[in-house]
């Protein structure tokens, strides 16, 4: 990544890294026709993920570097140069690797994917913040306390 591109785009990832990130998050959460949801590599969701990456780029950059190293060692080529099957195999291995910064990618992906309108709608949620409308919660049945009351005092005399 050149210094110029960092200044021009304010993006801590170069094109290859961004492509690798898209492949990772798309493999993590793929699109589903059954549930009518996009994948996490959907352009709008990926753009949202990149806004988080900009705030905390280090673990993502290091995780992608680990993926690249794995591609080189196992397939003898950079991740971006692999065919689709090899990419899928590399990501599958990577996802099981326990790479120290994998957690950051999982966290950022979850944060952005599960606030997307289409995903919320699929879950039966209104695409809105909690405030100001709030939510309904059942009051519950306080007669459930009858056996607790019947048992009597349990606090300890001091």
């Amino acid at each position: 990544m050149s210094q110029d591109s960092m200044i021009a785009t304010d993006n801590p990832l170069d094109a290859d890294q961004e492509s690798a990130l898209a492949a990772i998050v798309g493999a993590m959460i793929p699109a589903s026709e059954e549930y009518a949801v996009p994948g996490a590599d959907d352009p709008a969701i990926l753009a949202d993920i990149l806004t988080l990456v900009k705030r905390h780029p280090e673990p993502v950059v290091e995780a992608i570097a680990a993926l690249e190293a794995m591609a080189e060692s196992r397939h003898g080529a950079r991740f971006g140069a692999l065919d689709d099957d090899a990419k899928a195999a590399a990501i599958a291995t990577f996802s099981q690797s326990g790479a120290p910064h994998l957690r950051a990618i999982v966290s950022m992906t979850a944060q952005c994917y599960y606030r997307d309108d289409r995903v919320m709608a699929s879950l039966g949620m209104e695409p809105r913040p909690p405030f100001p409308k709030g939510f309904e919660v059942e009051q519950g049945d306080l007669s459930l306390l009858d056996p607790v009351r019947a048992r009597g005092r349990i606090w300890r005399e001091a």
């Binding site: 493999a27 993590m28 959460i29 793929p30 589903s32 059954e34 549930y35 949801v37 988080l52 705030r55 990501i91 599958a92 996802s95 957690r103 999982v106 966290s107 979850a110 944060q111 952005c112 994917y113 599960y114 606030r115 995903v119 919320m120 879950l123 949620m125 695409p127 809105r128 913040p129 909690p130 405030f131 100001p132 409308k133 709030g134 939510f135 309904e136 919660v137 059942e138 009051q139 519950g140 049945d141 306080l142 459930l144 306390l145 056996p147 607790v148 009351r149 048992r151 009597g152 005092r153 349990i154 606090w155 300890r156 005399e157 001091a158």
Partner: protein, 533 residues
């Protein structure tokens, strides 16, 4: 800011600083509070935005190290299995607390006499009871009277709803014959003192946009300020100065522009929590107090108590409350008192948590391996979404001098003030208690119908409760403050936060912190004519 000495200078505008300021206001003394944080705007709290869960990992995180606001100070907690959680603002950590609001029990003040561990407090439940009640009114405590785990106490507002989650777990507790009761909460279930009622936003621990949760910026502070108390934000105290008589003469602090300033005061009150208070005292080194102010006993910073927390969550086969509703609903104190057959002394409270949001569900599922990568993600996710509920166990932590707060030799805040360093080891008693709590919680979850259990003990990020580092007592050799909060060594210096706790009990501490602050304020008012004798 006043150039002349003020009558009372309070450091910290959180749970205890707010309470003591409000109580002292009726003396008509000139009272000034210096707070390192800002006033918060409820309109800016996360639940007003679509990124409400995400911000709990960023600017509203419970860890000051992760949050990294300019109003925060760093904490070196690398030598502790439990990381410090706090918030720095007017309202302090009540901005982020869940509002689970139990009182201590009578037995909690007599631990040495009853169980031969820790120490007895120099005050008892009966002494604090009127101040608990006063604090309950100011807070607007919601709950249900008649809990057999407590002496009689009145609730101000109706309890929070049980919801599907509370109902399900209540039936599990009943099947085992174990205690449970609707939690006392600092969440207004009806309009109270200008605050609106809870509308089940579900994001209590990121600040309450509705204003239903009783953070002290919207409870005590409006009343205290109307009574004349002055609050200055972005004022970070570095140290307390002493005069030739060995009394506190005022404080050195940095204002919002980073300028070093001095504020003289007749009385200084520390209200900075169990980490912030010893940090200031240990930073206040003088010829007369070379080991830190008020530290003749050598106990400033020692006996740090967290509450080791266990999280035990069950996965159910039906939809429960999930992201809806205040996080707290019911508690159980079935295992609160000592039963040595369990392999440990003292006990814990189960705080039942309602559920979790869509992001937290995904993270829990993926981090624990229950939600796979790939095509199976969506089915597995939906098997967890709104189907997780459970509890945390708040375990009593006993005082041990090797658990301590000191000053880090290298780490400092943006003003160059040395940061606190935490050295903490989980005791064998706590380890056994945590294991027991996980086992019994798993029992009740399975009895209630859980098909799978997820647990973590201790919760690594769960250092919400900071206690014991300037303990109270009658013996100056074994305590830092006396039985009414005045430092043994410095007769015009008071401490009102959780650092004066002698033991931790097995409940959230804020209600007791505030009751103690009101009690100490009352003692100050009763002794104004001879306060420094």
């Amino acid at each position: 800011m006043a150039e002349q000495p003020v009558d009372v200078l309070i450091i910290g505008a959180g749970a205890s600083g707010a309470a003591v300021a409000w109580s002292l206001a009726d003396t008509r003394m000139r009272i000034v509070c210096l707070e390192q944080g800002d006033w918060m705007s409820p309109a800016d709290y996360p639940s007003s935005g679509r990124d409400w869960e995400s911000r709990a990992f960023g600017d509203m995180a419970i860890s000051p190290n992760r949050r990294g606001r300019v109003t925060d100070y760093p904490v070196n907690d690398s030598n502790s299995p439990i990381a410090v959680a706090n918030f720095n603002a007017v309202g302090g950590s009540t901005i982020l607390y869940a509002g689970h609001f139990p009182r201590f029990h009578p037995s909690d003040f007599r631990v040495r006499s009853l169980d031969g561990v820790g120490d007895d407090w120099p005050v008892d439940y009966e002494t604090l009871e009127p101040f608990y009640a006063e604090n309950d009114r100011m807070t607007g405590v919601s709950g249900l009277s008649g809990d057999p785990a407590y002496p009689a106490k009145q609730s101000v507002l109706p309890p929070v709803p049980l919801g599907k989650s509370g109902d399900r777990l209540a039936r599990g507790f009943n099947d085992l014959g174990w205690h449970w009761w609707p939690s006392d909460t600092a969440v207004a279930t009806a309009p109270h003192d200008g605050r609106d009622q809870c509308i089940n936003l579900g994001a209590c621990t990121s600040g309450c946009a509705q204003g239903a949760k009783a953070s002290t910026d919207i409870t005590y502070w409006p009343h205290a300020m109307r009574a004349g108390v002055e609050v200055y934000t972005r004022c970070r105290v570095r140290e307390i100065a002493v005069n030739d008589d060995g009394r506190a003469s005022g404080v050195w602090y940095y204002d919002g522009d980073g300028e070093e300033r001095f504020q003289a005061a007749e009385v200084v009150v520390l209200a900075c929590n169990g980490v912030g208070t010893p940090r200031i005292l240990l930073n206040s080194v003088s010829e007369r107090f070379p080991a830190g102010l008020a530290n003749t006993s050598g106990l400033v910073g020692k006996n740090l108590m967290f509450h080791p927390y266990a999280s035990i969550q069950g996965i159910f086969d039906e939809e429960l409350d999930g992201f809806r509703g205040p996080g707290v609903c019911i508690w159980s104190q079935e295992f609160y008192e000592t039963d040595e057959s369990r392999g440990f002394v003292r006990g814990f409270t189960y705080e039942i948590n309602r559920g979790r949001g869509p992001v937290a569900t995904a993270m829990t599922g993926m981090m624990s391996g229950r939600i796979p990568w790939g095509a199976g993600h969506h089915r597995a996710y939906r098997d967890l979404f709104c189907r997780i509920t459970g509890m945390v166990a708040i375990c009593e932590d006993l005082p041990e001098e090797h658990n301590r707060v000191t000053l880090d030799p290298e780490l400092a805040d943006i003003h160059g003030i040395p940061a606190p360093k935490i050295d903490y080891t989980l005791s064998e008693n706590s380890r056994r208690m945590l294991d027991f709590a996980v086992e019994r919680a798993s029992d009740v979850l399975r009895t209630a119908g859980a098909t799978d259990i997820i647990s973590e003990a201790p919760i690594a990020v769960g250092g919400w409760h900071l206690m014991g580092t300037a303990r109270m007592g009658k013996d100056p050799a074994r305590s830092v403050v006396n039985e009414w909060g005045r430092c043994h060594d410095v007769k015009n210096l008071f401490i009102v936060d959780g650092s004066i706790f002698v033991t931790s009990a097995g409940v959230n501490p804020t209600r007791t912190i505030q009751a103690l602050a009101l009690y100490i304020a009352d003692q100050i008012k009763r002794r104004l004519a001879n306060l420094f004798d």
